[in-house]
């Protein structure tokens, strides 16, 4: 790999391309709807998940506005329950699980491997359409009576409710298979499509993170599939597997559900960690600190994440013995997570730190991820969790990890690869303002929720006792700030597509293979078949790992 001395002022000369970019090579609706190009599929996902994020975000704002007064300002309780359920379903199953792997992963992974496409392009497109079908089914469930079970579908409540649990369950089943096929495709791609000379330890960390994620997607999601399928059977025919009225055990449902849904948390956060690794190294112009430890920590997080699901059930009546085991194993996850955080900070330390928009998003990630990670230890600790379980402390904790970390990493990645995707740049000043608004808004929203939660405010409450009103009002103010930040982002990103300045060939001076392709890349990505000879993350110092 050649050492790249970036010169972002100089745009690539017109006509220097050998082939048209993937955006220009064909035109028209069907050239997108039927495309097998990983980059176009990535962009379709990007549009799709952003729309889902928008829907989920509007629902979140409604929730916060409703909770402005103790009696609930907007909805009846029943409607409130539907709103928070849909917020959860949209954000978890439709937005955040596919967000980074299916959009950024699809776009960037083959580029980083120097490959012309993913290994199975048809399966990739099929996976997108499964996602679309699942989303349409979820929307159908809303229109045909909505669901008020919470995104966790706990039995027997989900069996007694009259609402569209069956169609929502099948929607989740379909979305699950979309996720499985994406993960399966990426594992094969990483194994079989790497460039010549690209050994495993010359894989950028984003690839490691996507690999670990994919393992989870392939192995954990089928259990969710069979669980929601059984739930649908149960709802329709009362087969009794999860219904205590027919001999079933609701705790078994929780075991099945969390066997998937705890690894799912890592399906969400691992790719975010990968994005942050890339953004941090490029914008600090410094090799990642502790590369191997970072790579191994991704894999170890993936493996341990299968062993900790019971910490969602400490008050459910599972046995003390199992609680002991799950608490211990949960603590083990904290260790690789801490290693990652420290390694990123050490990467920035002594770098040539450019406070660009992607870097600001990444720094915001590092701050909020620290909060999310540290509060996770509280919840893994048995006696403290008994008090905090099912309170706003949990709500704030997982929003710190999911929204404040994964969603921010997703946006850091979008800003980082935006010039590569579209060949255009957004307004950096506005982008920085929006990053700061989101960081501030997040903390104003969720720090009061930590406070409320430790005081005992239970979650999923449509009304609450007046002592907590001031916290709820701060939280609502924060949510509005967050909303403004995201609206601003959407505005300048769309604006840049039409009026943004032309991006440089290598806007940030990245040295992984994704930056070696033309900007935007060709249909089959590279002008010349890339061959890896140098070290990874070599910014001209002769980096050694």
């Amino acid at each position: 790999m050649t050492t790249y001395v970036p010169d972002i002022e100089k745009a690539p000369e017109a006509g220097s391309r050998k082939e048209p970019s993937y955006l220009d090579v064909t035109k028209g609706f069907w050239s997108w709807a039927g495309t097998l190009d990983h980059k176009r599929i990535g962009l379709m996902y990007l549009v799709g998940v952003t729309a889902a994020f928008l829907c989920g975000g509007i629902l979140a704002l409604l929730i916060r506005l409703h909770l402005w007064t103790p009696d609930g300002a907007i909805f009846e309780n029943a409607v409130y329950n539907q709103v928070f359920t849909l917020h959860g379903v949209f954000m978890v199953f439709i937005f955040i699980i596919p967000a980074i792997p299916a959009s950024l992963g699809n776009f960037v992974l083959p580029l980083m491997l120097g490959a012309p496409d993913v290994a199975l392009p048809r399966l990739n497109l099929a996976s997108f359409y499964l996602w679309l079908t699942g989303t349409i089914m979820a929307i159908y469930s809303i229109l045909s009576g909505a669901v008020d079970t919470g995104w966790t579908f706990y039995t027997p409540y989900s069996l007694q409710t009259q609402q569209a649990v069956v169609s929502m369950g099948l929607a989740v089943f379909t979305l699950g298979f979309s996720s499985i096929f994406t993960g399966l495709n990426f594992i094969v791609t990483i194994h079989k499509m790497r460039a010549r000379g690209q050994t495993w330890f010359k894989l950028p960390l984003f690839c490691w993170a996507i690999y670990a994620t994919s393992v989870l997607q392939v192995l954990a999601t089928p259990v969710l599939g069979i669980t929601v399928l059984l739930l649908a059977f149960e709802h329709l025919y009362h087969i009794g597997i999860f219904d205590p009225a027919h001999g079933g055990d609701p705790v078994l449902f929780q075991h099945f559900f969390w066997f998937y849904s705890h690894p799912a948390v890592y399906i969400m956060i691992l790719p975010a960690m990968g994005v942050i690794s890339e953004v941090v190294t490029v914008h600090s112009r410094k090799p990642l600190f502790g590369y191997k430890l970072l790579a191994f920590s991704s894999i170890s997080i993936a493996v341990i994440s299968f062993l900790v699901w019971g910490h969602h059930m400490f008050t459910s009546g599972e046995s003390e013995f199992v609680m002991l085991a799950f608490s211990f194993l949960t603590m083990l996850v904290a260790i690789p997570t801490a290693i990652k955080e420290f390694s990123w900070v050490a990467t920035i330390w002594g770098g040539s730190v450019a406070l660009t928009a992607p870097m600001l998003y990444a720094i915001a990630f590092l701050i909020i991820f620290a909060i999310g990670g540290l509060t996770g230890v509280f919840l893994g600790t048995l006696s403290v969790d008994i008090h905090l379980h099912d309170t706003y402390f949990v709500v704030a904790h997982f929003h710190a990890v999911m929204m404040g970390s994964t969603a921010l990493a997703f946006f850091a990645g979008v800003h980082h690869w935006w010039p590569k995707m579209f060949g255009r740049m957004y307004n950096e000043t506005l982008a920085k303002i929006s990053a700061i608004l989101i960081l501030v808004g997040f903390n104003v929203t969720f720090l009061p929720q930590f406070a409320m939660g430790s005081q005992g405010m239970p979650r999923r409450y449509a009304t609450y006792i007046p002592e907590w009103q001031i916290y709820h009002q701060w939280s609502t103010v924060g949510a509005v700030i967050l909303g403004i930040g995201f609206a601003l982002m959407l505005g300048y990103l769309i604006h840049s597509l039409f009026a943004g300045r032309k991006a440089a060939a290598n806007e940030w001076g990245g040295v992984t293979m994704d930056w070696e392709s033309p900007t935007p890349p060709n249909l089959y990505n590279f002008d010349e078949e890339p061959v890896v000879t140098g070290e990874l993350y070599d910014y001209g110092h002769g980096a050694k790992h």
Partner: protein, 133 residues
Amino acid sequence: MAHGTDTSHGHGDTVVDHSHHAHVCSFQAFFGIYVTLLFLTFVTVAIAEPVSGLHLGSASMLVAMAVAAVKAALVMTVFMHLRWDTAMNNLAFLGSLIFLSLLFLFTLADHSTRQVADPIGGTPVEVKRFGQD
């Protein structure tokens, strides 16, 4: 980047060679395995309580599963060629069994170690009997 009749080596893990040397089993090998499988099915049935009246108690489930595991291993190694397949393909499939065993391990451990609740002034009620008050 047209590579035409490119025969370059070094793609990821792939053993790059135009003609792949797939392992072809002999008729005798497949037939032998087939007969063994039928024999093991006979063993499973013969030792089962409803058929033979053997009382193996709690061991009967273990024995039946052990025989089934042997049959499964034969199908996987020979019929499915795992014996001659790449390490990664072995790992992909066997890995799922390892992770599946975690699901079994923890749910069953939870069930078998749950506390027995005692109701007020009554005989202990087994938690195991759901919905049977």
